[in-house]
Symmetry: D2
Subunit: 415 residues, 4 copies
C-alpha cells in the first residue's frame, strides 16, 4: 500500500483524536453498527477528496468497514490534520494529504484516482472536475458521486445545465440536516470560540455588530447574545433585517454601526461588507473578524494600505494603526475566524453531514444505472438522520397516526 503523509509517528495522537470524534458522532456509529456486518459496499472502490480531519476519518473508516476499498486526499492545502492522516495511513488507507501541500495538491488527487473509483466523494468537486477533464477513461466504471458543498454544487449544476455532466451526483450540500445545523449552530459556536481564543474579550455588555442575518450570521448573532453581548445586525435584505428586529436584535446600517461597535463579525457571503470607510468610522480599539467563507468580506487590502503601522499582538490578532492614530484589531487575517483561531465545526455537527455522505454512497451503491444528473437528498434520509440524532440525545418524537396522516392529506394548514 502507498500513502504520503507528513509524519507517520503522529499516528497514535491521531487515533486518540479519531476516537474522540467517534464519541461525538453517534449517528455515524449507529450507521456503522447497522451496515458494517453486511458489507454493502463490498467490491466497490471509493475515491475521496475532502478535508482530512478526525471527523472525516470516521467517515473513511466507516466506508471501509462496510466493505469498500478507499483512497483519500485532502481538498484544501491547509486543512489536513497531520496526526489524523498518519493514523489513517497506519490503518491501511492509501492517503495522500498533509498540511501545506500547496504544490502537490493535484498530484495527490492523481494518486487517489489510481484506485479507479466506482464512487467519488467530494468537497468542492475537484475529483469530479479532474475526472471530467483529464480522466474520462474512468467515467464508464463510475456509478456516481457525492458533493459536500454549495460551492461545489454550483459548479456541478452549471455542468449539468450545459449537458456536460457525465455521471450522477448526489447533492449532500442540500440536506436539511446538514446546512440548517452546521451553518447556524456549528459556526455560531465556533465563531465565539475563535474570537475568545484570539482576544480573551469579555463579551457581556459589548456592542457586537454582525454583518448579515442568514443561516451562518443569525447563528453567530444568537450565540453572541447568549454571551451577554448587545448585538446589532446589518443586512441588505430588509425581510431578514426585520426578522432580526423581531427576534430582539438591534438593526442598523453598517455606516451607523461602524461608529459604535466594539467587535464586528461578518458572515454574508458578499464582499466588502466592511470597507475602509467603515474602518475609519470605528472607535479606537475596535476588533474586526470574519466568519464567512471567503476572506473578501472585510476589505483587508484596503486596511493594509490605509494603516500606517501594523504589528501582531497575539496569535491571530493583528493591530493596525490608522493615520488618525486609532488602533483597529483584525483577527485571523480576515479569514474564517472559527477555523483559523478555533477548531471549526464540532464533531457532533459533522456527524449529520457525514451521515448524509455515507447514506448517499450507500444509495449510489444500491441504485446503479442512474441518469447523469443532480440528485437531491430525500426527505426520508433527512428524517432518518434527525431521528437517530435525537435518539442519541435521549430525546423522543412523535409519529403520525394513520388517522392523522389521512387528516393532513384531506386538509391543508389553515389561516
Amino acid at each position: 500500500m502507498e500513502f504520503k503523509v507528513k509524519d507517520i509517528s503522529l499516528a497514535k495522537q491521531g487515533r486518540l483524536n479519531i476516537e474522540w470524534a467517534e464519541n461525538h458522532m453517534p449517528v455515524m456509529m449507529e450507521l456503522r453498527k447497522r451496515y458494517a456486518k453486511s458489507k454493502p459496499l463490498k467490491g466497490l472502490k471509493i475515491a475521496g477528496c475532502l478535508h482530512v480531519t478526525k471527523e472525516t476519518a470516521v467517515l473513511v473508516e466507516t466506508l471501509k468497514m462496510c466493505g469498500a476499498q478507499v483512497a483519500w486526499s485532502g481538498c484544501n492545502p491547509l486543512s489536513t490534520q497531520d496526526d489524523v492522516a498518519a493514523a489513517l495511513a497506519k490503518a491501511g488507507i492509501p492517503i495522500f494529504a498533509w498540511r501545506g501541500n500547496h504544490k502537490e495538491y493535484y498530484w495527490c488527487i492523481e494518486q487517489v484516482l489510481k484506485i479507479k473509483p466506482h464512487i467519488t466523494v467530494d468537497d468542492g468537486a475537484d475529483l469530479v472536475f479532474t475526472i471530467h477533464k483529464k480522466h474520462r477513461e474512468l467515467i464508464p466504471d463510475i456509478i456516481g458521486g457525492c458533493e459536500e458543498t454549495a460551492t461545489g454544487m454550483v459548479r456541478i449544476r452549471a455542468m449539468a445545465a450545459e449537458g456536460k455532466l457525465s455521471y450522477p451526483i448526489i447533492s449532500v450540500s442540500d440536506a436539511q440536516t446538514k446546512f440548517e445545523f452546521d451553518s447556524t449552530w456549528g459556526t455560531g459556536q465556533s465563531t465565539v470560540d475563535g474570537i475568545l481564543r484570539a482576544t480573551n474579550l469579555l463579551l457581556a455588555g459589548k456592542k457586537v455588530v454582525i454583518g448579515g442575518f442568514g443561516h451562518v450570521a443569525s447563528g453567530i448573532a444568537k450565540r453572541m447574545k447568549g454571551m451577554g453581548a448587545h448585538v446589532t445586525v446589518c443586512e441588505v435584505d430588509p425581510v431578514k433585517a426585520l426578522k432580526a428586529a423581531m427576534e430582539g436584535f438591534n438593526v442598523s446600517s453598517m455606516d451607523e454601526a461602524s461608529k459604535f461597535g466594539d467587535l464586528f463579525v461578518t458572515a454574508t457571503g458578499c464582499k466588502h461588507v466592511i470597507t475602509t470607510k467603515h474602518i475609519r468610522n470605528m472607535k479606537n480599539g475596535a476588533i474586526v473578524a470574519n466568519s464567512g467563507h471567503f476572506n473578501v468580506e472585510i476589505d483587508v487590502a484596503g486596511l493594509e494600505k490605509l494603516a500606517k503601522k501594523k504589528r501582531t499582538i497575539r496569535k491571530d490578532n493583528v493591530e493596525y494603526t490608522l493615520p488618525n492614530g486609532k488602533k483597529i484589531y483584525l483577527l485571523a487575517e480576515g479569514r474564517l475566524v472559527n477555523i483559523s483561531a478555533a477548531e471549526g465545526h464540532p464533531s457532533s455537527v459533522m456527524d449529520m453531514s457525514f451521515a448524509n455522505q455515507f447514506l448517499s454512497v450507500l444509495r449510489l451503491a444500491k441504485s446503479k444505472n442512474l441518469e447523469p444528473k443532480v440528485y437531491e437528498i430525500s426527505r426520508e434520509q433527512d428524517n432518518l438522520i434527525a431521528g437517530l440524532k435525537l435518539k442519541s440525545m435521549g430525546m423522543k418524537f412523535d409519529n403520525l397516526t394513520k388517522e392523522q396522516e389521512k387528516y393532513l392529506c384531506s386538509w391543508e394548514e389553515g389561516t
Copy 2:
C-alpha cells in the same frame, strides 16, 4: 347608501379603535400618504369579504381614499367588531357585518356583490366561490382578486389546477412579510396573552408542552421561554424536533410529556395531537389550550365523553373532572385561544399583511388583462413592505453596492 350593522351608535368607539390601529400601522399610513392624492383606484369597484376589525377598517378606508368604491362583509360569523362596523357604516361604506350573523352570512355576501366589483378581496375565498358558482355574470368585468389565507389558496389552487379559475388571483398568503411575521410573532404573543387572561397563571418555572414546532408553534415556544417557562416541544417531524433541541428546548413525545406538563398548547395544523390517552396521563390541574387554526388538535369530543363532571371556572376556562378524580382545565373550548381569550394579532403585524393586500390591489388595478391563474407576491413587494416597516421602527438597513451585486452574481455562497 345601504348597510347593515348591529348598532350604529357604536360608531364613536369604533372610530377610536380605528385610530388606535392607524397609530400602529405605519406601513399602511405611509402607503396611504403615497397614493391617496393620485387616486390610482379611481373608477374601480372593490368587494371585500374579510374579518371586520379595526385593522381591516384601515385597509378599507385606504382603498377608498385611493379612489375606489368599496363594499364589505365579514368572512366569519363571529369575528366582526360591531363598533368598527358601525364606524365604517357612518363613514359611508356599504358594510354588511355583525357579530353572530350565522344565518345571513351569505346574504351579506350577496349585498356586497351588488357593487359589481372589478376587484375582490377575500379571506377564505368566499367571494371567489360565490362569484364562480352563482354570479358568473360578474366575471367579465373582474380584473382580479386577492386572497389572504392559506386555506383559501388551497381551494383556489385546486380550481386553477382543474382549469376552472376564471379570473386571476394574487396569493397574499404567501408573502414572506405576512406568514413569517403574523404566524410566529403575532400568534406567539397573543397566545401567551390569551392564556394569561384565561388563567392568570404564573408561567415562570412551569412545564409548558408545545404541540408542534412550525411557524406558529415555534413562536409560542419562544414566547413561553421568554416568560420563564420550561418548554418541551413535541413534534412528528424529526428535523423540526432537532431544531427545537438545538435552540435549547426540551424535546419529547406527547406520551411522555403528557405526564409532566403543567400547561399544554397545540399549534400543529393536525388533528388529535392531544388525545384522551394523553389527557388520562396528565397531572391533576393540567391546563390545555389550542392555538392552531381548527379546534381539532385537542380531542375535545373525547374529553367531553371521558369527563364525569364539567363546570366553568372563569371566562374561557372550563374544568373537567375525570373518572380518576383528576381535574383538567380546557381553555376557550379548544378553539384558537389567542383570538377567543385575547385579541388575536396586534395591529402592527396586520400592518404588513394588509399592506400586501393593498399593493396587490394596486397591482391588479395597473395590470389589466392578466391570465386567470395564481400570482405570487413579488420579492420587491416583500422588500418594500419590510423596508417601510423597518423605517417606521427607526431602523436602517444596507444597500448592495454595484460592486457587491456583481460579486454576488459571479460567485455563490461557499461551504
Copy 3:
C-alpha cells in the same frame, strides 16, 4: 355571625375562584394538610386586615381549619374581590370588605377588632396602628402580629425605634421566598399582562424603556426581553445600571431614552422618573405606564396640565394630545398597571408569601411572651417554603452530607 359584603349572591363564583387559587397554591395546601388535623391554633382569635382576594381566602380558611377564630377586613378600599368576600361570608367568616369602601374603611377595622384578637395579620400595619392608638385595652391579650409589606414595616420599625411598639411583630415582608419572587417574577409577568390588555401592542421589535433595575424593574425588563422587545434600562444607581448592561440590556439616561422609546414602564420607588420634559421628548404615539407602588413615578399632574386634549381610547388607556400635536398614551392613570389592567400577582407567587404569613402565625402561637420587637423570618422557614414549592413543581434538590457541612464550617468560599 355578622359580616358586611357587597352582594352575598356572588358567593358561588367566589368559591370557584378560591378553588382555582387553591389549585395553584400547593405550599399552602401542603401546610393545611400538615396542620389542620392537630388544630394548632385552637382557642386563638386572629384579626386580619389584608386585600380580600382569592389567595387571601386560602390563607383565611387555612387559619380557620387550624382551629383559629378569624375576622377579616380589606386593607385597601379598591382591592376587594366582592365574590370572594361573599364566599368567605357564606363560609362563616366575619368579613367586612367590599370594593369601594372608602368611607367605612376604618369602621370595618373596628368591626374586626371586636373579636379581641390574640394575633394580628396586617398588610400596611393598619391593625397595629389602630390598636396602638385607639384600642390599647386589647394589647395585654395580644401574642403578636405579622406584617406583609415593606411599607408597613417601615412604620413598625419606626415605632420600635422610639420604644413605642407594644407587641411583637414578625416581618413577613423580609422573607426571601416573598420579596425575591413576587417582586421579580410576579410583577414582571403581570406588568406585561396589564400592558397587553390595555394596548394589544406587539412587543417584539419595540423599544421598551424601563425606569429602574431593582427587584421589580429587572423582572419587567427580563419579561419584556422575553417577548422580543428591545429593552433600555434607565437607572440612577450606576452599579445596577452596569449589571443591566452585563445582562444584555441597553442602558441610557431617561433624557436620551425618552426620545426613542415606544413604551415606557417605571418601577423605581421614586417620584417623577418621567417628567413633562421627558414627555415632550417622546415620539408621537409613545405609551407610558407605571408598575411601581405609588402613582408618583410619572408626573401625571404635569401631563394633565401640559396636554391640550385628553380622551379615553380603550379601557385603561387615555390619549393626551400635547401642544406640539404629538399624542401620548397613559395606561391606568399611572397607577400600578399590573393590578389595574391585569390581575396582579398570580396565585402561585402569593402561595409563598402567605405560607410565610401562616407559618409566622404558627410561630407566634407557639412562642408566647415574646419581647415587643421586630422578628425576622428564619432561614429555616424560607428553606421549608422553597423546598415545598420545589417539590410541588416536581423538582428535587440536594442535601449537604455531614462531611460537606464540616467542610463548609472549616473553610470559607474562596476567590
Copy 4:
C-alpha cells in the same frame, strides 16, 4: 535594581500583552489620567503579592505613575505570566515572580518586603501574614493594606476578631463592582471558553448539569443556556434552587442529574459535589469539569481509584475507563477549568477589581492613623467605578434630582 524573572528576553511580548490589557481596562486608564500628574502616592513604598498577569501589570504601573515606589511578587506558584514579569522587570519594577516558583515562593515575598512598605497589596493575605509573623519591625511604618480575595479576608477577619490585626486592611473583596462582576460574568464566560478549548464540544442541545447556583455557578448556567445547552441546576439551598427554576432552568438532585447529563460543571465552594456514586451513574462519554476555587468539588481521588484505565486524550482532557466499561472525561484535573484551560477573567472585568485596589491604596495614602481593623469599600467608590465603566461603554445613567432625593428620604419603597 534587583529582580528575578524567568527570561528577561520575553519582555517585548509581555509589553504587547500589557498594552492589550490597557486597551480593555478603561477605568484604570481614566484613573491613571486623573491621578498620574499630581503624584498622590509620591514618597510611598508599596509591596504587592498578587498574580503577575497583564492586568496586574496595569495596576502596578499605575501605582508607579502616581509616584509610588513598588515591589512585587506573585501570590501563586503557577499563575505568573513570565512575559509580563519580564516586561515589568525591564520597566524597572523590582519583581520576583516566575511560573513554577514553588520552592522560592516565600523567598520572593522576603525580597519584596525589603522595600519596607508603607502599604501592602495582597491576594490571599500572604504579605499580611508574613509581616505579622516574621517582620513585625515593619509594622510601625505601615499605613495599611488591601486584600483582594474572600479567602484572604476570612483569615484577616479572624485575626481582627482575636485582636491580633496590627494595621488596617481595606476589604477590596467585598466591592460590589468586584464580586458581582468577575464571579458571574468573568467566570461564566471563561468557563465556557475553557471547556470549548478542552473539548470542542457542541453545547447546543447538550444536557449540561451545573453544581450550584451562587454568583459563579449562576453565571455559568446563564452562559451555557446562551450557547443553546439544556441546563439543569443542582443546589443544596432550596431558595437558590427555586430562583434557578423561576429563571427557566431545570432543577434536580445530583443523584438524578448524574444519570442524564452530557457535561457537568461544579462551582459551589463545597467539596464532593460530584462523588464516585455520581460518576458511576453517568452516561458513557460524560464530561466533568470544575470552576469552583478549590479542586475538591469533584472527588478526583475517588475517580482515580475507581478507574481501571486512564489516558490523556487532548490537552486538559483525560479519559477514565470505569470497571463497567464506561468512559468519563475529566477536564483540567478537576481544577479551575476557566484558568487552566482558558485565560481566566478577561481584562475588562479585572479593570473594576483593580480600580478598587488602586482607589483603596489612594484612600490609605490620604487617611493616615487609621485604627487597625477591617474597612469596607464605600458605596461611593463602587458608584464611581461603575459610573466610569458605563461611560467607557458609551452608556449613560441618571442622577437623582434634589426633589427625588427628598422624596426617597421621606418615603420608603412600598409593597
